[in-house]
Amino acid sequence: MITTSAWVCLLSPLVACLAIALAGNRISRRGSGYLATGAVALSFAAAVVAFVGLLGEQPDERSHLSTAWTWLGGGSYHSGLSVLVDPLSVFMMLVVSGVGSLIVAYSLGYMDGDDEERRFFAYMALFVFSMLLLVQGGNLLLLLAGWGMVGLSSYLLIGFNQRRPQAIAAAKKAFVMNAFGDATMVLALFLLVQHTGTLDFAATFERAQGLASNHWVVNLVALGLLGGAVAKSAQLPLQTWLPDAMEGPTPVSALIHAATMVTAGVYLIVRAHPLFELAPTVEDLAAGLGAATILLAGLIALVQTDVKRVIAYSTMSQIGYMFLGAGLGSYANGMFHLLTHAFFKALLFLAAGLVIHALAGEQDMRRMGGLRRLMPRTWLAFLVGALALVGVPPFSGFFSKDSILAAALDHGTYGYVLWAAGLGGALLTGLYTFRMLFLVFGGEPSPFVREHHHAHEGKEGPLSMTATVAVLAVLATVGGWIQLAGVWTPVSDWLFPVAEPLVEATGRQEAISSVLAVGLGLLGAAIAWWIYAARRGRVPRLRAVRTLLERKFYFDEAYDLVFYWPAAAISRAWGSLVEGPLVGGAGAGLGQATRGAGRLTARAQTGLLRSYALAIAASLAVLAVVFISVR
């Protein structure tokens, strides 16, 4: 029952994707949307069935591996096509298919009238399938397959608008960055196969225990897996693709680049935590990268003008918190933040999508303003999302974020540094979130808004869009209530059999972190209000800092300088110095020589029969003389 529903959950989006792709014009554009939505909703229903099934079992028996057939085999190595149903994978299945079905339903309204709705929904279904394969795969190889396929569907969806060169460039950038992460992950898996002989989760983790802690093999494996996680989750130093990925349609940003795919790195760390625990240095590195990303992304978000990019940087920053939690060994808190983040970040994206939809595709916040009066319900939804993001109680972000910070306090001196970074991030979160809120919704309607906002009487968007935003607003409000650190911990208990936490914050640490984080978040919001709503203060004029932030700390330029330009220069040099003369020249020279020789011999061919005959006779005579005289 449990494994059957897991297979249904996994395969139903794939069937929908293939059906839409193969049916072509035989189903209507709307029909393809309904098909995709229905398939993902079916996945969600199946995930719920699996969840309920697991609930009915003893906590330490909640793990089922179902193998369809042996997928790959070579020598003593075998890898099955199998799904694993345990608390962690069911948790992810619920998030992916639940938030996924809401966002696909939202796309019904958002993509309505697009020429290529069918392609869009086929890609969306493909993405949901890939993501489910990633979280359900019963061994690291299937996880890697899902890992690559979410990269592919992310590429397809970012570049969905094929006529926009920026979208194509962004898609390529995302793909290349992710391929880098895939490569390090593959190397890690090679090492694992070499030293443990298998990639099945349970077996490989168990055999890896045989290697000493901090052994170079374990360190390299953990580092390779971390490389994959960092690339997929857009953390330092592979973060530059995510803001550009906002070229994709807004539902794509909400589903892939906020709620699900980018959190796959956190899932990977939690899933492979036995390996990471053997390599404490790499774990600390993961937490440190997360903390650095929190601050860096929060700072860059302060100066962005594109509403979707602000949310994208906020996503990077929030995933930084999850990495912080997962790297510290506070797995359940990281996963809990993943859940609440999926709710409120999807909400923010979809609400922003309503605004963009109403303003005929405009995303520049400087041209917005005063939308509160025109779109009051969207404003409310956005406000809920913003409060949840900043972590104001009783909204969901409060419950999940502060536990991560508290966990940092239980990690020695290094933990204090991480804790301080997380608190700084909380201040920045309040600042950029409310800056965005006030710029978009506050004040008087700008001339641009008055011109472009179509006055739908009392209507802020199609039903499929407003209804999903409403559902997400409710979830972003109450979604955090399923866990309050120290008092009521169903999430931690649920995940305990899979990922036992390494750190346990005391009640005092929880309280200090909560008070400080909420206080700093509200302080940030107040500063934003002071500057952008009340307009009593001004943004400090620090030109150098401003340029630094606007150029995103020069990461793109640095990568161009370090990787792109040398590679391009080497390629050009090889092209002009080696390939041109040697490869091209050899071919051309051979052709030229053949043609020259042909032209020479062609001259002997006069077409005069009698000269041919004479030549034959003369040579025969010569031959005859030679034969006779030599003998």
């Binding site: 062609a602 001259r603 061919q605 077409g607 005069l608 009698r610 005959a613 004479l614 006779a617």
Partner: protein, 102 residues
């Protein structure tokens, strides 16, 4: 009664062959060239048969028979070509038939 020795037969064969060669080289009408070719072949045939008799073995005669068969088919093709040329009113002169010049 002993006939002439093999030398005489070879001499006649050489004369025939040389006549043929000269005909092929000097004449311009394709018909005559073909005819001269036949003379060359027959010169060769004569030599083959002469050697066959001289050595008392039958191989040469079998060679001569196959040469005749080849010659017959060659004449069929060659004459066919010449008739086709004549019907298309092309000048029957091998020095002017140079379309296949390189």
């Amino acid at each position: 009664m002993p006939g002439p020795t093999v030398t005489w037969y070879l001499a006649v064969s050489v004369v025939l062959f040389a006549t043929g060669v000269l005909g092929v080289l000097l004449r311009r009408s394709p018909l005559i060239v073909l005819l001269s070719l036949e003379i060359m072949l027959n010169g060769a045939n004569l030599a083959l048969i002469a050697f066959s008799r001289y050595q008392g073995r039958g191989d040469g005669q079998i060679f001569a028979l196959s040469v005749m068969a080849v010659a017959a088919s060659e004449v069929v093709v060659g004459l066919g070509l010449i008739v086709a040329l004549a019907r298309r009113k092309v000048a029957l002169d091998v020095d002017k038939l140079t379309t296949l010049r390189g």
